[in-house]
Symmetry: C2
Subunit: 365 residues, 2 copies
Amino acid sequence: MAQILTFIGKGGVGRSTVAIAAAHQLAEGGQRVLLASQDPSPVFGQLLGQPLTTTPQAIVPNLWGVQFQAPELMATLWDEEVKEREARYLRFPILHTVYGQELGIFPGMDAALALYTIRGYNASDAYDVIVYDGLGDLTTLRTLSIPETGGWYLRRFRKLILESDLGRTIAPFIQPITAAVLNFNWSWENFAEQPSQEAAEMLEEGTIALADPKRVLAYLVTTTDASATAIAQYYWGSAQQAGISVGGVIWNQTSPTPEQQTAFAPLVQTELINHGGDWRSLVGKLPNFGAIDHIPQALTIDVPARQVRAFLPGFTKEQVKLTQYGPELTIEAGDQRRNILLPPPLKGQPVKSAKFQDHYLIISL
Amino acid sequence: MAQILTFIGKGGVGRSTVAIAAAHQLAEGGQRVLLASQDPSPVFGQLLGQPLTTTPQAIVPNLWGVQFQAPELMATLWDEEVKEREARYLRFPILHTVYGQELGIFPGMDAALALYTIRGYNASDAYDVIVYDGLGDLTTLRTLSIPETGGWYLRRFRKLILESDLGRTIAPFIQPITAAVLNFNWSWENFAEQPSQEAAEMLEEGTIALADPKRVLAYLVTTTDASATAIAQYYWGSAQQAGISVGGVIWNQTSPTPEQQTAFAPLVQTELINHGGDWRSLVGKLPNFGAIDHIPQALTIDVPARQVRAFLPGFTKEQVKLTQYGPELTIEAGDQRRNILLPPPLKGQPVKSAKFQDHYLIISL
């Protein structure tokens, strides 16, 4: 399993430059590194000094590079997964008349396709680190938390269908059709398990990886410009809210004031100054991305103390909202929702109190 | 109907600053302007000098501002549209037990929700111009072309289901169930029309608006930095490929060289120099966004000459690919696909020749 390392921050602060330098630094340190860019334009290749293609190619020893192109990823996914799956389950497949090469791209597909592809590279065991140079904004955070969000939708709606009159009413009608068309039988009782169990396991696996800084780790990149630091702070909180560990902040081009440094405590802070914007001069000056012991945990659930603690830096009390609509707790902050599935002893318990203190939302059940 | 005006370019070049200045300039010129920001952080409000909320609020005479927050838009959409629609069609609605306030956000939802909201503001007739400060990259282009892409999926898959044995096989089973659960009857013959006709018309309407620079218009913003201009060129071609008119290029902070200017001919070029990065100093110095006569058309179909001409600047011949898989022509360029529905006399005709000349892909049928 590889570590996915990504850089987030305002556009123009030098995220791609830092990502390229990080990939080189890790490769020089002996790790097998894949540098993956979400920018489909020739610009990333120009910055790197070598054009990239949609399949990983060697750059220097231990370093490979790849550039995602959504239409091509879509065509591959369609032919290798969607059509294959349809042929496996359906007796009269119809999607073979639709070509992967004609499918249009909706917003969000780039992100989902990138995550799907990264998952494949991860599973290949060919790399120790995947440096993912994504859009570097909320899109990157939402992309990495697709398994967590997807897991929520799956368990919530599966439960809904199972418990609804509608589900029970239409099941006897759907059953013979699906049995005739698909190659497997199912009963109302095992509907929850088959075939959605396969998806649930994949999403669960992704959610576990997301919460582990050895598997998924983000670093903030910022200049000392007021907008850039405000965005970095906002993304810091947003990353925690998405369940993604933030390992540190990289100050690019200029040195922070003591106030700016304090705003990012307790993160490890690295200053990159007096360089001409060339990534070559930054190799060796970046932090040790393998050191993860200092990283604050995004979420802790203390069952004996009946307490949930969510670390949400970069937000004020007014920006954090806690609700309890369905069977789970929902935290809203940073333009994102996080649904917390409580362990059995706390499940379904009403919230007794909640306070926001020292960047922590502390919920007592 | 309002004009949707958006700014695209590399992060950090000053897109939001220009968007704010443009909104003020248009409002001072007497138009009713809505400034809509996709940035959910407090940074946009700091730049504007006034915090924004998720409902439009007055800033100065003729100018209103709004900031999109995906979770809130999602909750509104869920309660006002999804639940309402379910209640209208289903006898046993189940979604009322799911709360809009607990739904997680996937990548791409921000974009789709923004477009849905903009469509509502547009239909309200309360504004003459909607200045949309989106992510400014391919996401913005994909967002605006959702109706075109969506229209393609709808007509392609509707046709597929209608023509497939599978569709005909399962229709007699589905018909009684849907008739029992939904409040309307349908036959296999009118399946194509009801209820997908409603969606088809909405998407068609959006596609027509997209192709009209009086309705949707993008401007490039760039500095003279090599990466920024390369991205601007790439986005120029990508916008044409998405069917979006580009009105001009705004050079921010520094003056372009003659070579840089030539690379963006025949676009109207505006230079914004000697300003401290404050939008106030830019009001009145931006181009006339109402002047659209000079804008090259993205796509022309000449039926008598049996010719399709697609304007694709910013790409080399190698970056443009033409295919004809299904019943339509597919152009691939700039990480996007464009499926061209030919008018009846040319429909289904094989491509005789295609050449790429002076930024035009010229296809003869």
